[in-house]
Symmetry: C2
Subunit: 354 residues, 2 copies
Amino acid sequence: MPKREGTTIAGKRDPKTRVKPTLDEIAERANTSRSTVSRAFSRPDLLNPKTVAQILAIAEEIGYRPNNMARALSTGRTGNIGLLVPDIANPFFPPLIKAIQSQADALGLCLFLGSSGESGARENTLFERLAGQTDGIILASTRLSEAQVKIHAARHPITLINRDMAGLPRVLIDTQAAVMEAVGFLAENGHRHIAYLSGPKESWSNQQRMEAATEACRRTDMRLSIIPLSEPSFEGGEAAAEEAVAAGVTAILAFDDLTAQGAHARLSALGIDVPRDISLIGCDDALPAMTYPALSTLSGLSQEAGRHALKLLCDAIEHRDGSQDMKVVLGARFILRDTAGPAPAGDAKDRDRS
Amino acid sequence: MPKREGTTIAGKRDPKTRVKPTLDEIAERANTSRSTVSRAFSRPDLLNPKTVAQILAIAEEIGYRPNNMARALSTGRTGNIGLLVPDIANPFFPPLIKAIQSQADALGLCLFLGSSGESGARENTLFERLAGQTDGIILASTRLSEAQVKIHAARHPITLINRDMAGLPRVLIDTQAAVMEAVGFLAENGHRHIAYLSGPKESWSNQQRMEAATEACRRTDMRLSIIPLSEPSFEGGEAAAEEAVAAGVTAILAFDDLTAQGAHARLSALGIDVPRDISLIGCDDALPAMTYPALSTLSGLSQEAGRHALKLLCDAIEHRDGSQDMKVVLGARFILRDTAGPAPAGDAKDRDRS
DNA sequence: TTGACTTATGCAATCGGTTGCAAATAACTT
DNA sequence: AAGTTATTTGCAACCGATTGCATAAGTCAA
């Protein structure tokens, strides 16, 4: 038997020393039954208005708070949702988390947050732990394989952000068109050889961007060097920038803004001016105006993505038939700011063409 | 009675269609009782090793996961902790959250995250909601009054970050010495009039910084203009910068890095060069190297703070006597980078003195 | 063989709610 | 006044675990 605070008198807890008021305590004081008190909260329409008023008054007086876990146990609904991201510290996620949290808050839901540290194994563990105490989970930029996602989805409502799997509710930020725009811009400005700093293999977004960059370079007849990032971080960007320089590119398209900033730092350290010597374009617009010179990037939409994701998740929880294939696609755009411009004169054989 | 999935046969659920395996199902298959199965997990030392092995095998086979909420209900321990911050999107917090989440993860705890949007009322609501399903809550940079914090602390284990209240476990990042250093640096570099962009009134950190700035200016005989931020955000910093310029200062000390960046943006937009015309110093080192020119700031330590806070919270949960007054103080330092330097010649009457 | 201890297991109450069903009371009909 | 229908309430089972206490089985010495 659990040890609880509160002295015991004749098998009953002494109300004076009781820590957390329960339904029973209210029932006792109101001289009625547990069921009635319970209904005073959940289905007041079934009760005599006077009774309800009295019960609510007592509840207020003794500071009663319903026990969420007990309720969850009997209803099967927890009122909690989970959100798993690869790395909270990556500036792409905080706005997303914020949007989800604030909307969850408005719906009376509590939010579990998990950061997997870019590790699929950890993500699995977190999922298991959260599955038992949430009504559904949002996987943002999951690093899990399709097979693993499917296994989880079979046992628990899921919504995906930036992962395209038919049959599961998902929100996608489509950056392909924006990448094409960006590459087009570079081509028109005399660049002939650019680098793409490639993010995690498991990342759907990265695959999309890489594909689009490849295709765009093919069309514009530019050379593309794909440089894999050791990790999608500031440091990863620094290291990759060096390789890009060695490859002799005049422009860099980075997996995301954080790596772009890392690249920027390293380029500056090497005495390479951005955008005079090398143009730099990030992705996600995660650092909107926080940087100087302002980073050219692809628009982020992470907040919109978050909002849609929570909505889809709630739908999925509601009617679990899952009959419809829910998919929301948000289109990103190329945002030209201060870090991208014409290729340096020496390289720009076709410069006048633009 | 709750509706659950799974058909019902003679009052018992058909195992074939049962969704989530329970203790009872294992007990049935292992031909033993609930208690034994339960103990196979919690106190295997009390059982016959053979029995334990058999039970674990069956559990594994049918994919059993203990129901956290049921367990919590009977043990009184949820295995969850809560973290409340004023604004996830403020770059000071993600590293803090990350540190706490990753340590919680290692301890097998799940983390609830709440962002109060700088509102005390919302923070109270979130607290109430979380209190019922956590073993303890960390309040980071709370915007609540001391009285409110006390009320909560009386009913639920709490640890504070950046709020000094005797009797409650707390982690403080002391920036006073660092502020003095920074102001001293400015004084030595010929500045005679500086501005402090003041953050939320409820913020302990802001009070500390403002006090220290005031005191340091008094000692160095500098003039100090205190400019309240409409909100501790990028936009707030932009607006405040304008006022600082109007006041005629040659240096700005901002409440945090985000507002400093906002100020920087506005100054640049006004054609004012940093640090030539105006020196700018942030606080928290939340954007370590993400910015150009690199922001001078006061070191952050948010990760260390997070780690300590979780440790204190666990201690508080453990022995709830709360006999000792736990307090951890981390000392910040002034970090000189590219945005601060000598006062412009015209203003620097004492310049040669340094 | 029997009493004294261990060791392994099961019984049943409990945590704090929810809810189907039935009983009690109130309100109308005719 | 008797019969019907609506309103309000209470009983008791249930959600899925934990755990104090008691019983059953096993060990061992005398």
